[in-house]
């Protein structure tokens, strides 16, 4: 874990307290995600897509029966994330993470990210997942 990343995480966490609004997205969040179905999952990052209108990252999660399920976690837009202190390499393949999100209504392994906690315990905030969607 580099100093730079720790500082990013710290900044992102602090920034989320009062500056989260700048990273919020709008859009038909409720059409995709269920605000009543929070999910917390741990696993290893397999890919990061730093793309508009929303960044995504993917995590291999081991299921109860030992299988591996690849989850798609949606983030805020890159411009919103940057205003919270993120960079495209704030998450990298191989990182061990715990993600809190709101699960997709269709039951597929997808969620809108609320927060990401890295192996050292630092937390990264992704705007307000309840607002989700496109800027």
């Amino acid at each position: 874990m580099t100093w730079t990343r720790n500082s990013l995480v710290m900044l992102a966490s602090i920034g989320s307290i009062a500056a989260g609004g700048s990273a919020l997205a709008h859009h038909s969040f409720a059409a995709i995600y269920d605000t009543e179905r929070s999910v917390t999952l741990s696993g290893v990052v397999t890919n990061v897509e730093w793309l508009n209108p929303h960044a995504h990252f993917f995590v291999d999660v081991e299921t109860d029966d030992g299988a591996v399920e690849n989850w798609d976690f949606e983030l805020a837009s890159p411009n919103g994330l940057m205003r919270l202190g993120w960079r495209r390499d704030s998450l990298k393949p191989g990182d061990e993470v715990t993600v809190v999100g709101l699960r997709a209504r269709d039951g597929s392994p997808r969620a809108n990210t609320r927060s990401v906690t890295l192996a050292d315990g630092t937390e990264m905030f992704s705007g307000d997942g309840q607002q989700g969607g496109l800027l």
């Binding site: 500082s7 859009h27 038909s28 995709i32 508009n52 209108p53 890159p78 411009n79 607002q131 800027l135």
Partner: protein, 265 residues
């Protein structure tokens, strides 16, 4: 260089406390020291400072602005009204249909524009560039612009329907009154789906009571969708020492595959 920057950052955070730490966090990646703006002793912008003036003696509205509390308006433009907007019967029916589908058909979902009214409530900064004869709004969200002509020109006689219409402005004392028409009927006024028609006229009254505060009163006059004009008010604050960032919705929009829909008409 990186270590130096990190140490400097740590020092700033430690000295300044949480409030300044937040500002520092936001500024790191797009920081530039903005000259010639009123500041407090700690270096932060003086929101109550004097309003800069244009060469014609009118207030300058120029700068980077961010909505104080956009989300309520974004979902429900009528959130501050005692009653809901005065729907025509068909408009209420359309609105209720859109609500029932949780906004899945919002053109926004397919990277189409938000329209003038919703754009004011988008939770992303916008920049105003202004001279006496023209005001340009540059929206970070979707990288979209609007032109407001303040050179006393009339509306075009036969405007063709457009997402952002045609806007002209004039001053009433220190308030810039912007009238817009020539809209299409394809955008929603908020993400819940309040509709509009090609009869829509929007009147925006921009005022800047102090350096760091911008107020916009928005009147929606659309007899095609509403039985009477209605007005909402929104407030913005100045965002110093940073700038717009591009946002290209079309790059990798996954909404259609996420929802299993084709783009709305």
């Amino acid at each position: 260089m990186r270590r130096w920057a990190c140490h400097r950052l740590i020092g700033a955070l430690a000295l300044a406390g949480v409030v300044l730490a937040v500002a520092e966090a936001r500024a790191q990646w797009f920081y530039h020291q903005e000259p010639d703006i009123p500041r407090l002793a700690d270096g932060s912008v003086d929101l109550d400072g004097p309003v800069p003036m244009l060469a014609n003696g009118k207030p300058s509205l120029a700068g980077l602005w961010e909505h104080d509390d956009p989300l309520g308006y974004l979902f429900n433009i009528a959130s501050d009204l005692q009653d809901d907007v005065p729907f025509q019967p068909w408009a209420r029916e359309v609105f209720e249909q859109r609500m029932a589908r949780r906004g899945a058909d919002d053109p926004n979902n397919f990277c189409m524009p938000s329209g003038t009214v919703m754009k004011h409530a988008i939770p992303a900064p916008f920049k105003i560039v202004q001279d006496p004869n023209l005001l340009v709004l540059l929206y970070e969200s979707r990288t979209i612009f609007r032109q407001i002509f303040t050179d006393a020109r009339p509306f075009p006689e036969d405007p063709q329907p457009a997402w952002y219409g045609y806007s002209v402005g004039h001053w009433e004392e220190d308030t810039l009154v912007v009238e817009s028409m020539g809209y299409n009927d394809r955008f929603w006024l908020d993400t819940q789906g309040r509709p509009s028609t090609e009869q829509l006229r929007v009147i925006e009254r921009f005022s800047r009571p102090s350096f760091g505060r911008l107020e916009v009163e928005i009147t929606v006059d659309d007899p095609g969708a509403y039985t009477a004009p209605w007005t909402v008010r929104q407030t913005m604050h100045y965002l110093p020492d940073t700038d717009l960032i591009e946002h290209i919705c079309q790059e990798a929009n996954r909404f259609p595959e996420q929802i299993g829909l084709e783009p709305a008409e």
